[in-house]
């Protein structure tokens, strides 16, 4: 009898070329995404006169610096921003790499585009020079972010040295209450275990609440694995996964589909597989959650008050809370629903897929936003679909701007910024100091919660608007 294996180990073992004496594995990479920020890696190749080993498994995507007001390079005022997009086009052209560029109807944020095009599939090992590559694990593949030196290494060899991480299973059983989304599951576990709580682990999300999530919600959940410090997050593929993939442009077809499917169906942890750590969450206990501080671990259910550092016993934690409240301009003990906002942002690889836009639009339909804001769909395809459903009209009528797809205000590299001192309710993934612009204050939450905050002008409980309470 063979030893029972976790899903992670099954996929890892299929990719292990060799294991060094010191315990590092050389693993094969199936898909490698590069974006504008990958220029350091291309420069490194050039310096060493190396070529790209497998251009056919490498894909270029313009997302981090793309403008959301135009699809034309010549309209970009900032020469450096324009240069970043041109540089990616030049590098991919030079090495014969397929590019999903600014003018491509398939363009989108890398972690939205990969699944949408069927490039992301169960059982693959995928990397990208972006930490939210963990997103793709929703299909039962191993996917993680790497730095520029590693990007250069993958370009040159199509392999990577990695230490096999420990395995943690996070089981969420039960039923989520109405109005509770994958974002709330993620913020809840990160608040509980800490922003470095899963460091050194590959997470497998399991349990009935996870099985019940749509493909898009699973992507949101796996996306945020990195915010809890995990190496990657994954979910065993099932009918929902296969249905999503069928007929996608890069998905296998015909006989190859049948072969692939037979293999994919074996991709789950064996019943007796041992995990290094087990954590559980009860779905019923998860409430709509928002962040109040400057780390994703500083999150609380919307009906709570921000902490009072003078009541925190642990000195280090108290100091951290004081520093966070100070940056965020909040008073100790203030009710979250009393926190007034200046703007909203609906976008990013975390929460800008079609379902996310639908959830926000449902709340905004027939209502007005009290604050300005931007909606940037996760991909150009998502934008088209949303427009076909009339969601753009809902957002516009609510007073929000309907923009093109890109990373936009998630990171502000393209110039979409939250002004200093302003407070933004955002569907993104990081509330770090200055993440959305110098001095910007970010509160993370689900798309429906951002919509509720827009309508109220302050952080608000979506359940009161949707009648779910």
């Amino acid at each position: 009898m063979t030893k029972p294996k976790t899903l992670f180990d099954k996929v890892w073992d299929a990719h292990e070329i060799l294991c060094s004496e010191s315990g590092q594995s050389l693993v094969w990479i199936d898909r490698h995404f590069v974006h504008e920020g990958s220029f350091h890696a291309f420069n490194k190749l050039r310096e060493r006169e190396l070529s790209v080993a497998r251009a056919d498994l490498t894909f270029g995507i313009a997302d981090h610096y793309v403008p959301t007001l135009t699809r034309h390079l010549e309209d970009i005022g900032d020469a450096k921003v324009r240069g970043m997009i041109e540089q990616l086009a030049a590098n991919t052209r030079e090495h014969g790499i397929t590019l999903f560029g600014l003018d491509d109807p398939r363009q989108g944020i890398v972690h939205v585009l990969g699944p949408e095009q069927g490039l992301t599939q169960p059982g693959l090992l995928m990397v990208c020079g972006d930490s939210h590559t963990s997103t793709h694990g929703a299909f039962g593949c191993i996917a993680f972010g790497i730095g520029a030196s590693e990007v250069a290494h993958v370009l040159a060899t199509q392999t990577l040295w990695q230490t096999r991480p420990k395995k943690m299973r996070l089981t969420v059983d039960g039923e989520l209450a109405p109005g509770i989304s994958a974002k709330d599951i993620a913020l809840t576990w990160i608040a509980r275990l800490g922003a470095d709580g899963a460091r050194g682990y590959a997470i497998e999300y399991a349990g009935s609440a996870i099985r019940g999530l749509s493909m898009e919600a699973r992507l949101t959940l796996c996306n945020l694995s990195i915010e809890g410090g995990a190496r990657c997050g994954m979910i065993a593929p099932d009918e929902i996964t296969f249905e999503y993939l069928r007929e996608r442009p890069f998905a296998p077809r015909g006989e190859q589909w049948d072969q692939a499917l037979a293999y994919w169906q074996t991709l789950q942890s064996d019943p007796d597989a041992r995990f290094d750590r087990e954590e559980t969450l009860a779905a019923a206990e998860i409430a709509p959650t928002v962040t109040w501080g400057v780390s994703p671990e500083e999150a609380l259910p919307i009906d709570q008050c921000v902490p009072d550092p003078s009541r925190i016993e642990d000195a280090a934690r108290a100091r951290q809370a004081r520093d966070s409240l100070d940056y965020m301009g909040l008073a100790p003990g203030q009710a979250l629903t009393d926190v007034a906002i200046d703007r909203v942002f609906i976008g990013s690889c975390t929460n800008a897929r079609l379902e996310d836009l639908r959830a926000a639009a449902e709340i905004l339909r027939g209502r007005r936003s009290k604050v300005p804001g931007i909606v940037s769909p996760g991909s150009t395809q998502v934008k088209r679909q949303a427009e076909a459903e009339g969601l753009d009209v809902v957002f516009r009528q609510a007073g929000l701007e309907w923009r093109e797809s890109g990373c936009s205000m998630c990171v502000g590299m393209n110039g979409d910024l939250v002004p200093p001192g302003e407070r933004c309710a955002s569907t993104t993934n990081r509330n770090f100091k200055g993440r959305q612009g110098p001095g910007a204050r970010t509160h993370l939450m689900s798309p429906a919660m951002v919509a509720a905050a827009a309508v109220a002008g302050h952080l608000a409980d979506v359940r009161e608007l949707s009648g779910a309470a």
């Binding site: 060799l18 060094s20 010191s22 050389l26 094969w28 920020g37 350091h40 420069n43 060493r48 190396l50 056919d56 498994l57 610096y65 240069g83 997009i85 041109e86 086009a89 590019l99 999903f100 560029g101 600014l102 003018d103 491509d104 109807p105 490039l119 059982g123 590559t133 993680f144 972010g145 790497i146 730095g147 030196s149 590693e150 290494h153 040159a156 060899t157 392999t159 040295w161 230490t163 922003a195 470095d196 460091r199 410090g229 442009p249 890069f250 190859q256 072969q259 293999y263 780390s295 280090a316 951290q320 990171v411 502000g412 200093p420 990081r430 770090f432 100091k433 200055g434 110098p438 001095g439």
Partner: protein
């Protein structure tokens, strides 16, 4: 890459937790070529006020900070983005080692790939080091072979993955190491595409060529 055996120089105390990569280098500087020197961007928005003036009392504005090669911080250092630019900023500033109770995963491997030692100590030991240094850069001795940090009578053990330690001690570069295995890689790739033929990318939809 320059090997590290021991480090003898000044260490800067940075008594903060969750110093993420967005703080280490704000995104707006990442359009710059490396040749401009990324040290000027390190912790830029903590070092400067809104008007761009140096913040008094911030450790990197201390007159001796420029001579420091080690940074001591609290937990979860380098969490967040995979941007290697965060490591470039530290290295270009002159740092060769960061001591903290925990590191962002990707940050730590980026560090090693640039000859920067991520030395993990217990939270208690980090606090002791911070308290010893106080508010100014102070001398530390770091021995990578022995995995020890010493200052005066104090001696603290740090941990680092054995493979990373070997790489840093020898100044090894991964690409060179990997290329020695070219045959094994080729053999693997051949068997692999037979076993999983659908893993190879075929575009079944009309191919769109993008101009950028």
């Amino acid at each position: 890459m320059e090997p590290i055996k021991t480090l003898d120089a000044l260490a800067c105390p940075l008594p903060r937790a969750n110093v993420d990569t967005d703080q280490l280098i704000p995104a707006r500087f990442m359009k710059e070529p490396r040749s401009v020197g990324y040290g000027q961007f390190l912790l830029h928005d903590l070092r400067h006020d809104e008007d761009g003036r140096p913040v008094e009392g911030f450790i990197l504005n201390h007159p001796q900070a420029a001579q420091a090669n080690t940074l001591v911080a609290r937990r979860n250092f380098g969490a967040g983005s995979s941007r290697e630019a965060a490591v470039y900023a530290l290295v270009d500033y002159g740092f060769r080692c960061v001591i903290a109770p925990s590191f962002g995963d990707i940050f730590a491997s980026n560090s090693v790939n640039n000859g920067l030692l991520p030395a993990t100590v217990s939270e208690e030991d980090a606090e002791t080091l911070l308290a010893t240094l106080g508010e100014a850069p102070g001398s530390l001795h770091i021995d990578l072979e022995a995995q020890r940090i010493s200052v005066g009578d104090l001696s603290i053990v740090f941990s680092i993955a054995p493979t990373w330690r070997t790489k840093l001690l020898n100044g090894w570069d991964d690409i060179d190491m990997t290329r020695q295995h070219a045959q094994a890689i080729q053999r693997f790739a051949d068997g692999y595409s037979q076993q999983y033929p659908w893993f190879d990318v075929t575009v079944t939809a009309g191919k769109i060529i993008s101009r950028g």
